[in-house]
Assembly symmetry: C2
Amino acid sequence: MDGLNPELMRGSLELMVLSVLSDGSKYGYLIQQSLRDASDELVELKAGTLYPILHKLETKKMVRCRWDDSTGRRRKWYELTAAGKKQLKVRVDEWQAYVECLRRVLGPLADPSSMPA
Amino acid sequence: MDGLNPELMRGSLELMVLSVLSDGSKYGYLIQQSLRDASDELVELKAGTLYPILHKLETKKMVRCRWDDSTGRRRKWYELTAAGKKQLKVRVDEWQAYVECLRRVLGPLADPSSMPA
DNA sequence: GTCGATAGATTGCGGGGCTATGCATCGTGA
DNA sequence: TCACGATGCATAGCCCCGCAATCTATCGAC
C-alpha cells in the first residue's frame, strides 16, 4: 500500500480485486496495474498479497482461470464466474453499509463543514 | 461484530473508539454501549477487543485514564489527551481518503443509480 | 550479456480481533 | 438468602490475513 493507512485496507482488498475484474478478465500483473490506475496510485497491491487472494477466489469458485502459453510470457487470466459477480454485489452492499455505519459513528467528525482549513 | 462484515471493521476499530471518546470521557463498558448505540446496534465491540485497544491507546498516550473506586463497582475512565484529539483528526482524514479511494476503484459499482431493485 | 520490467508463485513473520476464561460487584426475583 | 444475570475489567491463545523476502523465468533495451 502507499499513501493510505494500510490497516484500513485490510478486508477490502478482495473487494477491490473483484471490482477490477468486473470489467473484463485480466491476468495478475494487469490487475495490479488496473488497481493502481483506478486508485490514483494510492493502492499498490503487492504480488505477495494479490496472488493468495486470487488463489482463494479460485478455490471459492469466484473466479475461473486459464493459462495462456501462446506467448513466451506465461500468463494466467482470471475471469469472474457468475458466483463471483453475485459475490461482488454482496461485497459492495456490505461496503456501503459499513461506510454508512462509520458515518453515523463519527457523527459531526465526518461532516466536512466541521473541518475548517 | 454483528450485522457488518467483520473483515471490513478491522483497522477502523481504534478510530471508532477515539471517536466515541471525543464527546467526553467514558469507562470501558460505557464505550461499548455508546458504540453500539451510535452504530444502530451494528457494532458490538467485544470486551476482548476493546480493552487491548484501550491499553494500546494508553501506552501511546492517546488517552489518559483514572480509576474511580468511589462506588463499589470499580470503573476505569478514559479521556482523550491532546495528542489523542490530534490523532483522531488524522484518522478521520485517513478514513475519508480511504472512502474516496474506494469510490474511485469501485467506479459505477459504487453508484447507487446503477443498482436496480 | 546484463539489467530492469514483466509475470507467476510460496514461505514465514507479525499484528490484530475474537473466543474463552477468570475475577469481582450489584440488583432482582424466587 | 442465595442464585443468576448484568455490570465491569483483564489476559491468554488461536486464527486469519497482509506483506516482505525470495525464487524462477522471459523479454526488451543498452
